[in-house]
């Protein structure tokens, strides 16, 4: 095990160590668990940065820890693959996690589950790192589930709240539905190719018949859709906001939910061999992007708004990877991680200041009260709505450009539309929270969050400001593309690098869309030049549709959940108890009735005994002479 491997294995080691320590000896560590935990994460962040440079100036490598399963011809190792894709993700994940950890120290201060919280959080970081570093599908699947578990426990962190626990369960089960497909995909890969190692799979995948490749791709996609909260499995993410806000920031904005995108990017070869699957990805992405943005328009819960925006942003990424411009997808993934993490943390800071209030109708005019939060929030908002020079602009624009470039004009239009809506809802949020007259009830003391929370915000805000510039000069000449495309080079249908169109126009269009959104929000909520209520009533159906998230939950309940439940009850009450058990007991009944009849033969009458005997004799004789 040389130094490189050692570093690689140390990265997940520290979070794991933390998880175990706080988990088992939590009550001895108390608040130190927070600080130590953050330190652990920072260490692994540093290590991953080192790895990043090792890879950037060297090349990727794999390192094997031990053989996990060896069942005759089914062999799986616990081993990592370190390439540009994974190191980028690594740096991002560890970085954001470090910030979130630090932030959490303040946010979760004097929560009785402090240590437990950090144990879960460390466990999550560990699982996420392993998910990224895994070099075979089974290991990927393992940690795919593991991060799901972490999100389950973290969403339901405040287990006394039924809504929280329900949300956690929902998240886990919906994810399971996705993983059902994922698992089948993994099995299919194994039985078709005979191994689960990335390298072999990707090199041999082309030998399979197309329909098989498509099937595999779609099954994997099912997993991705579940994890990344894409249509039709996105229902769990809004509810997931029941968890502590830093968790939402880390898991449900920055890292875990984007795992789906990472998966597709990781399996880009499989997808690039199956255009149909890629198109499915594209369509799902488009639909989701729109639905997310649309549902976000009318929500009042600030976290839910951001959650919907996450859904729709991931939709963007799906569109990107769907058309094969994985670089753009990854680019947006990273920048989104930053500014969405920022947005959530700031939202958390707002909550903290408002002592848990989430309804934006009960806010307003907070700007003066919590400046740092407000400013960082606005930065995040601008980034989200794709206003230059903030990171969102570059990444989103890259995607839009590639869409247009690929000739998927419909999806380009959707993209622009979504950009517009995005800008609108996020600034609706900002205006309602920070500006306008205050609806905060008087006896509530609003205050700015402590340093330990604001510093991460500032850091992230700065990142959101500058990060985008790695996307320059435009397209495949950009630093990031140059770096990352080395990994995607062998997927052949990725976005071409031609500039046969006025790209600045496109950028202009998207920027204008963004600005338009902001302006309308401004008109609505600051100038109040329209009567919103009238508007509401005018577009009532659409409004309700949006407000109730297209009734998807209700539909699921009606179509799947309830019938299933009733069927189960039927099986238990009717089939099990009535039919099968009834049959068993029925036999017993029958036997005992018969025996009660048989006993009557022995009626105590000597006469009848003699008759029986004689009859017997006659029967025997008859047997011979009638025969």
């Amino acid at each position: 095990m040389n130094s490189k491997d050692l570093i690689v294995w140390l990265i997940p080691f520290f979070p794991l160590l933390g998880a175990i320590l706080w988990g088992v000896f939590g009550k001895y560590f108390k608040n130190y668990s927070g600080y130590l935990g953050s330190i652990f994460i920072i260490i692994s962040f540093i290590l991953s940065v080192i790895i990043f440079f090792i890879v950037a100036y060297g090349h990727g490598f794999t390192s094997i820890l031990y053989q996990w399963i060896d069942a005759s011809y089914f062999k799986v190792n616990v081993s990592t693959t370190i390439d540009r894709l994974s190191v980028v993700m690594l740096v991002m994940v560890t970085g954001i996690s470090a910030l979130v950890h630090i932030y959490s120290i303040g946010y979760m201060k004097d929560d009785k589950g402090f240590a437990r919280y950090f144990s879960y959080l460390n466990l999550f970081v560990f699982s996420m790192i392993m998910l990224i570093m895994a070099n075979n599908f089974l290991l990927l699947y393992v940690f795919w589930e593991a991060v799901g578990l972490c999100s389950y426990v973290l969403i339901g962190f405040w287990y006394e709240k039924k809504s929280a626990v329900d949300a956690g369960k929902k998240a886990f089960i919906v994810n399971r539905i996705g993983d059902f497909g994922f698992a089948l995909g993994v099995m299919l890969i194994f039985i078709t190719i005979g191994t689960l190692n990335y390298s072999t799979v990707f090199s041999d995948i082309h030998t399979l018949p197309p329909y098989l490749i498509t099937t595999i791709a779609l099954l994997l996609l099912a997993g991705a859709v579940g994890k990344s909260a894409q249509f039709p499995l996105y229902v769990w993410l809004p509810d997931a906001m029941e968890g502590p806000t830093p968790v939402s920031a880390l898991i449900h904005a920055a890292t875990m939910v984007t795992a789906g995108v990472y998966l597709i990017a990781r399996c880009h070869i499989i997808f690039s061999y199956s255009p149909d699957a890629s198109n499915v990805v594209l369509i799902i992405g488009g639909v989701t992007a729109f639905i997310g943005a649309f549902s976000a328009l009318t929500q009042f819960d600030i976290k839910r708004i951001i959650a919907y925006s996450t859904i729709s942003q991931i939709g963007y990424m799906f569109m990107a990877v769907g058309i094969g411009s994985y670089a753009a997808g990854m680019f947006h993934l990273l920048s989104h991680a930053i500014f969405k993490g920022l947005l959530f943390l700031t939202a958390g800071s707002v909550m903290h200041g408002m002592s848990g209030e989430l309804d934006l109708r009960k806010m307003g005019g907070l700007y003066s009260k919590m400046k740092i939060t407000a400013i960082t929030f606005i930065v995040g908002g601008l980034a989200l709505s794709g206003i230059p020079p903030f990171s969102g602009f570059f990444s989103k624009d890259a995607i839009l450009a590639d869409l247009f470039n690929k000739g998927d004009y419909l999806f380009w239009i959707i993209g622009v539309l979504v950009a517009f809506m995005t800008a609108f809802y996020i600034f609706r949020l900002i205006f309602n929270v920070f500006f306008g007259e205050s609806h905060v009830d008087k006896n509530l003391h609003v205050h700015e969050s402590p340093k330990i929370m604001t510093i991460p915000l500032i850091i992230l805000a700065c990142l959101a400001g500058i990060f985008g510039f790695i996307g320059l000069p435009p397209f495949n000449h950009s630093i990031f593309y140059k770096f990352i495309n080395k990994d995607f080079a062998n997927s052949f249908n990725f976005a071409p690098a031609v500039n046969n169109y006025p790209w600045y126009l496109l950028s202009a269009i998207s920027v204008i869309a963004g600005l338009g959104g902001i302006y309308i929000a401004y008109v609505f909520y600051i100038k109040k030049s329209f009567d919103l209520e009238k508007l509401k009533s005018k577009f009532k159906p659409i409004y309700d549709l949006s407000y109730n998230k297209l009734y998807v939950d209700e539909i699921y309940d009606f179509v799947i959940v309830n019938p299933m439940k009733n069927f189960a009850i039927f099986l238990w009450r009717i089939v099990d108890i009535l039919v099968i058990d009834g049959a068993v007991n029925g036999i017993a009944q029958y036997v005992s009735i018969t025996s009660s009849k048989v006993r009557k033969l022995q009626n105590g009458m000597l006469m009848s005994y003699i008759v029986t005997l004689t009859v017997g004799v006659i029967a025997l004789l008859a047997y011979y002479f009638v025969r």
Partner: protein
């Protein structure tokens, strides 16, 4: 030492019986002494059985630690013991679980302690004997008498409709095993007619060639015996009752060891004795298995009684194991063997936790719980781990076996496997929902206001299982490397017979396809 190793199996089998005899002479008033002594003896038993693991040669499928003595010359029945990779771990599981069951029942069993511990030890002896014997008559002796102590345990220390459940349990299983006996005797006689000498030696009987039609009949006969034990879908209704009413220790043993005998019987007897028939009937059995998986899971969702829920869940889990076994690929069989152990550990642990809940609040209705995490964090954490291992969460033991089973069966029986895989969703649904209603949310029931957390003894009781869950989940090779040779051999036999079967099929045009 060498002598010790030579007769180690007999020692392991009869040590508990002797311990029971020892306990007979202790005054029944001295309950504490009885309990401690029994527990210590069972622990010693477990330690002894570890020698098997240490001295087990993992590179061969041959039977090891073989002992053979003449027993009944008239039938060529011999006292013939030996273990391979499969029975090794089942024996270890048995000894461990008996120890744990005894440890778990310190508070639960309040009356007739003496009888209880004696019965438990007797039961252990017979279970071990059944796993170790390679002589069909010997096996049957152990196999059927096993029911009796279990029957007492359910009927005496059970709860609610215990008598009904106990009688149901014993009649169900007895009927099954008697019909099985019929099949076994017939094979024995057939072998005599072919070779002219009586023998119950399994390894010799393997070579009996039975005409196909008769084979199918016999397979069905023997199938009934084992299917009831497993239990497979239409024969499962004794299980919920037995599990629900049995005392914790009883449920633990029942779930973690007794159910395994069905699978073990298929593995060791039914399939190798009647390969063609089992190949022909595989589709039927797989259908039943898949039905059990989904049916069990769905029914568990709507259960109101914790134990009943776990019972149905183990119907579902055993379905997986049957699927893996009858898919008859090396991987899937590896998986099911591993999963037998896993199911033993996970479900055993679940029953232990349910038992703890019952001891504290004297109810098993899910509705009566809720919000216990606040009162009993340790219980919650460990219970959670057990639940997750039963859900088949990667990193814990359940996952490895389940995945091996599925991936192994996927090629031949894609459709079945897909249906089976859908089971993982339902499993998550019912277990997590149960856990939420029991452990999370606010305390609704006043009785749980002063709910105690786990005592040291209880922690010690479950800790081995929890550790094993992680260990097997993270490093299953320790088991697989020992199981695999046996399984590969088994599969080769079947493959060979598949060939033979195809010849037969060609000859008699069984299926025109």
């Amino acid at each position: 030492m060498s002598i010790f190793l030579k007769y180690i199996l007999s020692i392991i089998i009869f040590f508990p019986l002797l311990s029971a005899l020892l306990l007979v002479f202790i005054n029944k008033k001295a309950e504490g002494l009885l309990r401690n002594l029994a527990t210590i003896l069972s622990l010693a038993e477990f330690v002894i059985s570890l020698f098997l693991f240490i001295y087990f040669k993992s590179n061969t499928y041959q039977f090891q630690f073989v002992e053979r003595f003449s027993w009944i010359r008239e039938f060529g029945a011999t006292y013939f013991l030996g273990i391979d990779g499969v029975s090794l771990f089942l024996i270890l599981l048995t000894t461990l679980m008996t120890f744990i069951a005894l440890l778990s029942s310190y508070k639960y069993i309040k009356e007739h302690v003496k009888e209880f511990v004696i019965l438990m030890l007797v039961l252990e002896t017979f279970m071990l004997g059944a796993f170790a014997s390679l002589d069909i008559l010997l096996f049957y002796l152990f196999w059927e008498f096993m029911l009796i102590p279990m029957y007492y345990i359910i009927g005496i220390w059970g709860t609610g409709r215990k008598v009904y459940s106990a009688v149901k349990f014993i009649l169900y299983t007895l009927a099954g095993s008697l019909i099985m006996l019929f099949g076994l005797i017939t094979i024995f006689i057939l072998h005599y007619n072919q070779t002219g000498n009586f023998t119950f030696n399994l390894l010799k009987l393997y070579h009996t060639n039975i005409p196909l039609t008769l084979q199918i009949i016999l397979f069905i006969a023997i199938f009934l015996g084992f299917a009831v034990k497993i239990p497979l879908f239409p024969f499962h209704t004794w299980l919920p009752d037995a599990h629900t009413e049995a005392p914790t220790a009883g449920s633990v043993i029942l779930a973690s060891v007794l159910l395994k005998f069905g699978i073990y019987g298929f593995f060791r007897f039914a399939i190798p004795l009647m390969p063609e028939a089992s190949i022909i009937l595989t589709p039927v059995i797989l259908v039943l298995a898949v039905i059990s998986i989904i049916y069990g899971a769905l029914v568990s969702i709507v259960q109101k009684d914790l134990k009943r829920l776990v019972a149905f869940s183990s119907v579902s889990h055993m379905g997986f194991i049957v699927l893996g076994l009858f898919a008859m690929t090396a991987v899937s069989v590896d998986g099911s063997v591993l999963q037998m152990i896993n199911h033993g550990i996970s479900t055993g642990a679940l029953f232990l936790f349910v038992g703890m809940l019952y001891e504290r609040s004297h109810t098993r209705l899910i509705a009566d719980f809720g919000g216990l995490t606040k009162k009993a964090p340790i219980l919650a954490a460990l219970f959670m781990i057990a639940v997750l291992s039963s859900v088949g969460l990667p990193g814990l033991n359940g996952f490895v076996g389940e995945f091996l089973i599925l991936v192994g069966s996927f090629k031949q029986y894609t459709v079945f496997t897909i249906f089976a895989t859908s089971g993982i969703i339902f499993t998550a649904v019912y277990l997590l929902w149960m856990f939420q209603r029991v452990m999370f949310q606010d305390i609704t029931n006043k009785n749980n206001e002063n709910f105690k957390d786990m005592t040291l003894r209880e922690i010690i009781t479950v800790l081995p299982l929890i550790l094993l869950m992680f260990f097997i989940g993270l490093y299953p090779d320790v088991l697989l490397s020992r199981i695999n040779p046996t399984v590969v051999h088994f599969v080769n036999i079947i493959e060979h017979n598949k060939y033979a079967y195809n010849l037969i099929k060609a000859k008699m045009g069984l299926f025109n396809a």
